[in-house]
């Protein structure tokens, strides 16, 4: 089994570099932090003692001029998802690892890519050049990952079945995908490299560590039969909205979400689906993200029930600043289950249906509905044009 591992070291920092180049390039030492804990540190910051997992106060004590960026996990996930999509256009079986690591099963690709280096180049091109991605190819996920770690930025490293054992031999046992306690015990036994493990009989490792010992032995030999498990494909409906000027009013944010829900429900009705989950997302003008996943007890297609859940989440939301962009995704879609509707419509419902029909006809005639809904945005603002806005009305 030939497997490729695409590795983007310090993925979050790479994303920040791509999204906020002016801020990131100026910084001599940089860290991405979430909840006062360092997630990733630039090489220059790492040289000054800043480490992932360190408390921010501690990191700033090591490096007072450290520039700290607030982590945007959703943005990183989105970029990583796009990277996986790009890889799937080349190799059909792609497995996401931790953020910035992806495996691809290369079996069956020889007719498309007769030369392995052309395939390697195509996979490397799945990540933007600024990401400095590395590619490892080997006879399993573990050797491919180790090869990717050793490859130079923007280059690939290929291990064959014949060379893999000698190539892995100098690698540290710390690279093994086993619990920290096992690694500590290996070190206590004087087994510091994978080469040390290869010299031992398989039975000795099995006797010491049980089934994990056998796996360690196989990995040191460059055998990794763990298959590439492609990510499950989820059908989603995603809609987004943006504001001309960032909005601080919760009412305006809720109105916009209501409008997005209507838009998403139209797409969902066309596909005759019901949603099991809703993902709400709000991005502030500074790029901070608020996200909330709502999981419903049963798949919903009913607007009133969906809105009730979303509204409640928005009322309780602590959005970290004026909102510039909103997103709503309906996921875990399932076929619609029939629901019993009432036979007799109230006069109010009939009136509303007539009104909506008139609006639909207006839309059909003019291409877009010429009506808008006036919403208060920042009624307290001293800038008159910020006080209210027109939200396009979609029948």
């Amino acid at each position: 089994m030939l497997v490729a591992c695409l590795l983007v070291p310090r993925f979050a920092l790479a994303c920040e570099l791509a999204d906020r180049p002016e801020r990131v390039r100026r910084a001599s030492a940089l860290a991405v932090a979430d909840r006062r804990v360092v997630l990733e540190a630039s090489p220059s910051a790492a040289r000054l003692g800043v480490r992932p997992g360190q408390r921010l106060a501690q990191a700033l004590a090591h490096c007072p001029h450290l520039v700290v960026l607030e982590a945007r996990p959703a943005a990183y996930e989105r970029r990583f998802g796009a990277l996986l999509d790009a890889m799937e256009r080349i190799a059909p079986l792609v497995e996401p690892g931790p953020l910035g690591v992806a495996y691809a099963d290369l079996r069956g690709l020889a007719p498309l890519f007769p030369r392995l280096d052309a395939l390697a180049q195509a996979l490397l091109a799945c990540a933007p050049a600024s990401f400095g991605a590395r590619l490892g190819i080997g006879p399993g996920k573990f050797p491919a990952w180790v090869a990717a770690r050793r490859a130079r930025s923007g280059h690939s490293c290929v291990l064959t079945q014949e060379t893999v054992v000698t190539w892995l031999a100098p690698a540290s046992v710390d690279l093994l995908p086993v619990a920290a306690d096992i690694k500590r015990r290996l070190r206590l036994l004087g087994l510091n490299t994978l080469g040390d493990l290869v010299t031992l009989p398989r039975a000795a490792l099995a006797a010491q560590f049980g089934p994990i010992g056998t796996r360690i032995y196989e990995l040191a030999q460059g055998h990794d039969d763990d298959p590439v498990r492609p990510r499950p494909k989820a059908e989603t409906i995603a809609v987004r909205a943006s504001f001309d000027a960032p909005v601080a009013s919760r009412e305006a944010v809720m109105m916009a979400f209501e409008r997005l829900l209507d838009q998403a429900l139209r797409a969902m009705a066309q596909r005759q689906r019901a949603a099991g989950q809703a993902l709400l997302r709000a991005a502030t003008e500074r790029g901070a993200l608020w996200e909330r996943v709502l999981t419903f007890k049963e798949a919903l297609s009913d607007r009133a029930r969906l809105w009730a859940a979303i509204k409640l989440a928005l009322e309780q939301a602590a959005i970290p600043g004026p909102v510039a962009e909103l997103g709503l995704e309906l996921v875990a879609l399932t076929p619609c289950v029939g629901r019993q509707e009432t036979l007799w419509l109230s006069s109010e419902t009939r009136q509303r249906e007539r009104l909506w029909e008139a609006l639909r006809q207006l839309k059909a005639r003019y291409g877009a509905c010429p009506l808008g809904r006036v919403v208060e945005v920042e009624p307290w603002s001293r800038i008159p044009e910020r006080r209210a806005a027109i939200l396009a009305f979609e029948p």
Partner: protein, 95 residues
């Protein structure tokens, strides 16, 4: 290259209401309006009802700095205009 993954869906917008409209204003050296041109007709300023300054959003790249004037014109009409102190120019707006 990585493409934008959020491909689905359109981008509805909130359109601001009461956007300022450009207006021609003649002012003295100190920036006090002397005349306003409305519908191609010059109208002299008969009096100033009120003037105030709006300094907002100085933390953003495009700060807002405006000097507002509520003016009574020679024909009795009351208009509110402001001078954009960041980018220059005069604007009319309902307040």
């Amino acid at each position: 290259m990585v493409e934008d993954s959020g491909a689905q869906g359109s981008h509805p917008r909130l359109r601001a209401l009461n956007q300022p409209q450009p207006v021609r204003v003649e002012a003295d050296a100190e920036g006090r309006p002397l005349a306003v041109v409305l519908r191609s007709r010059r109208r002299r300023v008969a009096g100033v009802q009120e003037t105030w300054r709006v300094e907002e959003e100085w933390w953003r790249e495009r700060a807002v700095s405006r000097q507002y004037w509520r003016l009574v014109l020679e024909d009795g009409q009351v208009v509110t205009v402001f001078e954009d102190l960041v980018e220059g120019g005069w604007w009319r707006q309902r307040v």
